[in-house]
Structure formats: C-alpha cells, structure tokens
C-alpha cells in the first residue's frame, strides 16, 4: 500500500507554502536587485510576518539609562560593554558633574534572549521584531547599538 500517493496528488494542485523571499527567482545580481528595489523598479517579496512579541534586535534609550550595569551582569554572551562619556570641565564655582556611564550593545554577539530587558530598572532597553540583521562587518553602524 502506498498511502502517500494520494497525498502527493492532492498536494500537487495546492499552492506552495514556501514564501519566496526576497524574490520569486534568483536575480542575476542580488545587489543589483536590491538597488532596483530601492529605486522602485523591482518588488521585494516580504518575509513571513513575525508574531507579536517576537524577540528581535534590541532598542536602547541612552537618555533613560542610568549606567547601573546590571544588564551586563546577566548578558549570557557578553554582548554589552560599558561606555564612559566624558563631560566638559565644570565652570568655576560649579560642581564637576560625573562622567556619564552608559552601555553599548554589539548586535553580532547578542543572542536576543531579552534578559537585559528583564533586569533593567529604568526600562531603557526594549526589543523590536527586526530580524534581518546580516552584515559583512560586525562593527558596522547597524551592528552597534548605543
């Protein structure tokens, strides 16, 4: 008995479930294709929609962060480092403000666990659903959050 035969026949008339991202056919040049998309000459087939609360790239609000460094303590992949922003010397008679401690997140190291978000007392970090993060340079602008 070959029960699969019936299944194959029914499947062959169904619409494929595969999402042909980013283009239905392999373009001659990927960069050329992307440029065309940018110019509005070609259409990109969008990726499959992400569900709500997907854990993607982080977003960080430096002005809320107080530099406590707790996020670094729970980051499993050591993706967060501390950055010290110097402050200009105080004018005479004024108290010298302390150097500002903030953080920098390396997207290439991050494993998107979201633990830093859980521990942050100031809610300075949040997670977006952005997931197309490939880059050639791990220190590219898109790969560093600060």
């Amino acid at each position: 008995m070959l029960p699969m035969l019936k299944e194959i026949l029914t499947q062959s008339v169904k619409k494929p479930v595969t999402n042909l991202f980013p283009a239905a056919r392999l373009p001659k040049s990927i960069t050329g294709f992307l440029e065309d998309v940018g110019r509005g000459k070609a259409n990109l087939i969008p990726p499959v929609e992400t569900p709500e609360h997907m854990r993607g790239k982080l977003s960080y609000k430096r002005n809320i962060c107080n530099g406590c460094g707790l996020c670094m303590k729970v980051c499993p992949s050591h993706a967060i480092e501390q950055v010290v922003y110097p402050v200009p010397p105080a004018k005479e008679g004024e108290e010298q403000p302390r150097a500002q401690k903030r953080i920098r997140i390396y997207v290439g190291n991050c494993i998107f666990c979201g633990q830093c978000i859980d521990i942050c007392p100031k809610e300075a970090i949040s997670q977006t659903s952005e997931f197309l993060l490939a880059a050639e340079d791990r220190f590219a602008e898109s790969q560093i959050i600060e």
Partner: protein
C-alpha cells in the same frame, strides 16, 4: 566488494550523509556489517567551560544553545538543578507553562525526526510533508516564547513568559490541526509498504540489551522498557497527569525492538503530547509563573546557594541530566551535562551488527542522535585522541604548579 576479506569503512567525522560530526567505523564483509564502532567528541564546543565563568541566570540561556532542537530540555534540567540547590520553589503555573513548552518541543522534535527518517529511506515526499506539518508546532512555540528555536523561556524559578488567556485559542487551534492530522500521519508512516519493508526487523535492539546499555527515551521504550521520567519521577506538571510510557503496544502490535517500533513509539508520543498540552491548558492554575519577578533577587539567591544537585528532564530523545555544584559564588563550581544520545549511542555497535550497508543511515538515525548535545569533552594531542582521568589531570596540574614555582 570482492572476496570475503573484511573491509573497514570509516564514515565521518564530517560526511555528507551525517548531519552532525561523529566518527563511525564499520567492518564489513561484502554488504554485511560485521562490526561497528563510533567515536563521539567531534562537536565539542566548550559550553560547560563557558558556564563556569557565568552566573546561573546567564547559563540558563547558554543551555538553550546546547541543542538546536531541544530548546527547553537543557534549560529546564539546568534550572531544576539550580532550584534544588538554592531552595527555590517554582510556582504551579510556571510548572504548567514549562510542561506545555516541553511537550510542544516533543511534537516538533518527533516530527523532525520522522522527516529525517523518511529522508534516510529516500522517501523525500514524506520528509517534506513531516517538516511542513512541523511548522505548526514551531509557530506555536514562537507565539508563546518569541522565538522558534531558542525559546529562552526558562528562568531560574519558573518561566519568563506566561501563557495568557487570549493565547489559548491559537494554541488550541494548533492542537486541533495535529489531532486531525494524527490519523493521516499514522497511516503515512505506519502503513506504508516501503517503510514497513525497510524498517521491520532492522536495527533490532532487544529488551535485555536496552536495559544493559541503559538506553533511554523512545529508543528504550521501543524495546519494551517501561521507563519514562515523566511517569517514574514526576516533575513540573507531570505529577498531575495520568500518563503512561508509550510502548509499541500502543499500535496494537508486539514489541519487536526494531526501527519500525521506534517510529511507532514516536508517532504515538505525538498524540500523547497533544493530550498533555490540552489537559494542562484546561487545568492551568492561576498565579505567577516566576518565583521572583526581580532578576536581581534571583541572582542574589543563586549567589548565596551552596551544594550540589542533579536536574533531569525526559527530553524527546530520552532523559537528559545536568549536574550542578555551587559554592557561594556567582558561577557554579561544576556543571556537567549528559544528554540522552550519550546513553543511546552506545547501542549503535549492537544494532548495526548484521545490517546491510544500505540500512546503516536509517539504523543510525533511528535512535534520533544529537551529537551537539552529547559531545562534552575531547582531548586531541597531535592527532591521537587520549582520555585523561581526573587523577591524571590533577597530577598534571600539580606538576605544572610545581614547575612554575621552581
């Protein structure tokens, strides 16, 4: 192959037919395998070593990356070990969420395996079908945890996310899809003439051998061993459930211990998992899912803890064990992982003996091996592999200290 000279065929460590690095050496006489041996340790990544410089809250997400399929197995086992040491009680609802995720994991893992098994038999249309229906479980997992593969939902003391009431409907729809699919899956995998002729009677593992070699999970149950951690030593929500280990008798057949029986057990375990998730959803207790909302307090509790414990979980492939020892410090002083494949792989030499060369892929796959989980230590010295005992290592360490002092 000419004559009756036995030939030795090495396969691996890296080979197109192997999904993960492992070295298998076969002695063949003509088409028949007369001896087999294997060398694990080719996928060693030093995860345990990394853990020893991290705190338990960090490690719990490191454990998610031990295996790409068992996303919750290792984190759950590890968390259970740490919770015992630190005296942390998981709230009931947390236990239920853990159980639901663990069972979804079993569904997707067994479907993945079913696909791989079909592929190893050259039955690719069935492979595609199994992997397509697996997507529903992956989607449900992503919906609950926020990620398809690395769930990261376990925290020391519970889970990081709750399953909210408004999520129930979608999860139930997914379960219904699988329920409707079950009879089809059963028919496609268990009634197919090709699968039957290739799998019945191949890779025989007797009850006695399964016991003697301490096989675990579906591999042992297919040989008639009634062992399932969820039943024998209930944890999480399993104690509240009325479940029995699934044996090939579930399909109304005798226990044979062959590859076909391993398919039977896994297919019927999918049905069992669907039921477990349904029961859990129906009986979800109210309350928090985490022992302590503030991660800082979890960190403090772990730092204060000292002692040792073993955390276990019945993974889709069988029992996984984590040993953890802590001593009033951020990082544990010892962490050892034993995955189910470590127990199951030892039956390879037995079940491969007498097999035809062409049956090797399906027999090897039939235990559902996962080398990334298994490979914990490998010492290579100029190409020759040595295993050092703890005493030898200590001696070497002492000698080095002495040399440095001179």
């Amino acid at each position: 192959m000419a004559g009756n000279v036995p030939y030795k065929i090495p396969i691996g460590p890296i080979h197109p037919a192997l999904k993960e690095p492992v070295h298998i050496e076969l002695t063949v006489m003509g088409e028949e395998v007369i001896g087999a041996d294997f060398t694990p340790g080719q996928t060693h990544r030093g995860i345990e070593w990394m853990g020893l410089s991290r705190n338990p809250v960090q490690i719990v997400h490191l454990t998610d990356r031990i295996c790409g399929i068992c996303g919750v197995t290792h984190s759950l086992s590890f968390a259970r070990a740490v919770e015992q040491i630190a005296g942390i009680t998981v709230p009931e609802r947390g236990d239920y969420v853990r159980t639901i995720i663990a069972e979804f994991e079993r569904i997707q893992s067994h479907l993945l395996w079913a696909g791989v098994a079909a592929h190893e038999l050259g039955f690719d249309s069935l492979f595609y079908l199994a992997w397509r229906v697996r997507e529903d479980a992956m989607d449900a997992i992503e919906f609950i945890t926020g990620n398809r593969v690395n769930y990261d939902i376990i925290q020391i003391g519970g889970t990081r996310r709750d399953i909210t009431i408004d999520q129930y409907a979608k999860i139930r729809t997914c379960l219904k899809t699988y329920k409707d699919l079950f009879s089809k899956l059963k028919k496609l995998f268990l009634e197919d003439a090709v699968i039957k002729s290739r799998c019945i009677g191949t890779g025989l593992l007797s009850f006695e051998t399964a016991m003697a070699y301490s096989a675990v999970g579906p591999t042992s149950r297919a040989s008639g061993v009634t062992a399932d951690l969820r039943v024998d030593y209930p944890y999480c929500a399993y104690g509240d459930l009325d479940i029995k280990p699934v044996l090939p008798t579930a399909y109304g057949k005798d226990v044979n211990g062959d590859t076909y029986d391993r398919i039977v057990v896994r297919i019927f375990e999918i049905a069992q998992s669907i039921e477990i998730i349904e029961t859990c959803l129906d009986n979800m207790p109210a309350g928090p899912v985490l022992w302590e909302e503030k991660v800082v307090k979890i960190l403090a509790a772990c730092k204060k803890a000292s002692g040792e414990a073993v955390g276990r979980h019945e993974a889709p492939r069988g029992e996984a064990v984590h040993y953890v020892a802590m001593d009033n410090a951020d990082a544990p002083i010892a962490w050892k992982v034993k995955a189910s494949t470590y127990s199951n792989a030892h039956v390879w030499p037995i079940i491969l003996k007498g097999a035809q060369l062409a049956d090797i892929p399906i027999i090897v796959a039939s235990i559902d091996p996962c080398m990334s989980c298994t490979d914990r230590v490998a010492i290579t010295d100029n190409g020759s592999t040595k295993i050092f005992t703890k005493e030898q290592l200590s001696k070497m360490s002492y000698e080095k200290t002495r040399r440095m002092l001179q």
